[in-house]
């Protein structure tokens, strides 16, 4: 981000007249606005995609009236929900009830700011990237239990309890599976992790030995479960819990939960692509996609990988039946946890014995982040 702004400044006479601090401030605000718009609009489109795919899989059409192929359906739905009444149950804990969706939303969206969308296209290029994503997304749990508890409805509280137990459990294999990539890469900076996967498709971490391969599946399954996607959608199992923790939510408050859920899906699909599937790299040696213009093509490549993983998530949801809660716990503690720990030990042994393939050749953009800027002027 900073390196990109610096190259913009260096290339323009006009921008060199403007104080660097102002450009950086506008840069941060603009990047955050873009990321927020990207995430919320794409979340709406994924809702549409889900409904279309579900329709196709159930031999019906799905929404196709609003806009081309029904692409603007989410705008129509959003406008409709804006006009709906916001009902708060009389027995609810009002302050907590009102705060909960906002907290879930913040948790789902703030994690995007360390995501490398392309070479240098990252709002905050920090060394803690991966760790920050895992920690910020767990804010969501707090919002969910607030919603469930404050609603004071039995369905909500059952859903919230299940959800918290499930999300909290699956965060362990999720974190450990991501760790196996962190060891292979030797860094938590998501841009650096991507840079090491440049060149051929064999440089992607999913293909760098057996542990990356197993780790990829462990990570993806754990991500599905911590996103409460089917087949792990017990917290909002429609056939038994009405709607789980958001039973009592109406109008746009409900829409915010919905948006946050789909934003989380996109986030984890993107994170899986960055960690295991080579981020913005095409997998063809020689095409690096790190130039001033081609980094946007790189963003397109990452977007394609993300879309594919999103499609897989939807595909899984409409193909598999729901797990039973004790099976969910069994899978987490007795299957995924040992497997992911094995991946970490294996990956560490791989690094120790030096049997990893060579990493990328590019230097990380803007290593000091914004610290250099605040420490005084343009580096």
């Amino acid at each position: 981000m900073q390196a990109w702004l610096d190259s913009l400044i260096a290339g323009s006479e006009l921008l060199q007249q403007v104080p660097a601090g102002l450009i950086y401030t506008i840069g941060i605000l603009g990047a955050c606005t873009l990321v927020l718009l990207f995430a919320s609009l794409l979340a709406g489109e994924v809702v549409w995609l889900e409904r279309r795919v579900a329709g196709r899989m159930q031999a019906r059409i799905g929404p196709n009236r609003v806009g081309p192929q029904g692409l603007l359906q989410f705008l129509a739905d959003g406008l409709k929900l804006l006009g709906k009444e916001d009902i708060i149950p009389a027995t609810a804990d009002k302050a907590v009830f009102l705060m909960a969706p906002v907290i879930v939303f913040m948790g789902a969206f703030a994690a995007y700011c360390v995501m490398p969308f392309g070479y240098g296209l990252v709002p905050a290029d920090m060394n803690l990237g991966l760790f920050l994503i895992l920690s910020i997304t767990s804010i969501e749990v707090v919002g969910v239990i607030m919603a469930g508890w404050a609603s004071n409805s039995k369905w909500s509280i059952l859903g919230a309890m299940r959800e918290v137990a499930q999300m909290v459990s699956y965060e362990i294999p999720l974190g450990i599976a991501a760790l196996s990539v962190a060891i292979l890469a030797g860094t938590l900076n998501l841009t650096d992790i991507t840079l090491q996967q440049g060149g051929g498709i064999w440089n992607w971490y999913v293909f760098r030995g057996p542990f990356g391969f197993i780790g990829f599946f462990a990570f993806f399954i754990a991500a599905l479960a911590s996103l409460k996607r089917a087949p792990f959608d017990l917290p909002e199992a429609e056939s038994e819990l009405v709607a789980g923790f958001h039973t009592e939510y109406t109008g746009f408050r409900f829409a915010i939960f919905f948006l946050a859920e789909y934003a989380g899906m996109i986030l984890f699909a993107m994170l899986t692509s960055v960690l295991f599937l080579g981020g913005w790299y095409t997998g063809i040696p020689g095409i690096e996609l790190d130039g001033a213009g081609s980094r946007w093509i790189g963003f397109g490549v990452l977007f394609a990988k993300t879309s594919f993983l999103l499609f897989v998530m939807i595909w899984v949801r409409w193909s598999l039946p729901r797990f039973r809660i004790d099976r969910v716990m069994y899978l987490c503690y007795k299957v995924l946890l040992p497997i992911s720990v094995l991946c970490v030990v294996g990956a560490a042994a791989q690094v120790w014995l030096g049997i990893t393939l060579a990493g990328g050749t590019l230097a990380a953009p803007g290593e000091g982040g914004f610290a250099d800027w605040l420490a005084g002027g343009r580096p």
Partner: protein, 135 residues
């Protein structure tokens, strides 16, 4: 003013600078949600309330007793297990980043650490703490 002039007052100021976009993003998320909720409040329908409408949903019946009741201990057990295992994961992250420094030593160290973790995991499994099917 240069932020480093504040070094005696804010020793972490320059290291915290890279978190500014995270903070901005949190505020933007808050603002986006809040704006939409205000819009919904302004545009939304406001029908007169009545006791039945404001009732918590319980399949159409008036709710029987408060929903804040005692819960199965399994859920709390999972919370305790989370604290145990997730703290271990947090310890493993800095180890993963520094692994290149002294591979052989750190590998053995980590094996001991994971060995202790494995003993704890084995104890939890044998105790049946995650065996939810058993009554």
């Amino acid at each position: 003013m240069n932020v480093l002039d504040l070094a005696p007052v804010l020793p972490l100021a320059s290291e915290m600078a890279e978190f500014i976009p995270v903070l901005v993003m949190l505020i933007f998320g808050l603002a986006f949600a809040a704006l939409n909720l205000v819009a919904s409040f302004l545009l939304g329908q406001k029908a007169p309330t009545n006791p039945v409408k404001d009732m918590a949903y319980e399949c159409g019946m008036p709710p029987i007793s408060d929903a804040h009741q005692r819960f199965s201990v399994k859920f709390y057990l999972v919370a305790i297990l989370f604290v145990l295992f997730d703290i271990e994961v947090v310890f493993l992250y800095p180890w993963a980043v520094k692994f290149e420094a002294d591979k052989a030593f750190l590998f053995v160290e980590m094996l001991i650490f994971i060995g202790i973790l494995f003993l704890g995991w084995w104890y939890v499994i044998r105790k049946g703490a995650v065996n939810w099917a058993q009554e």
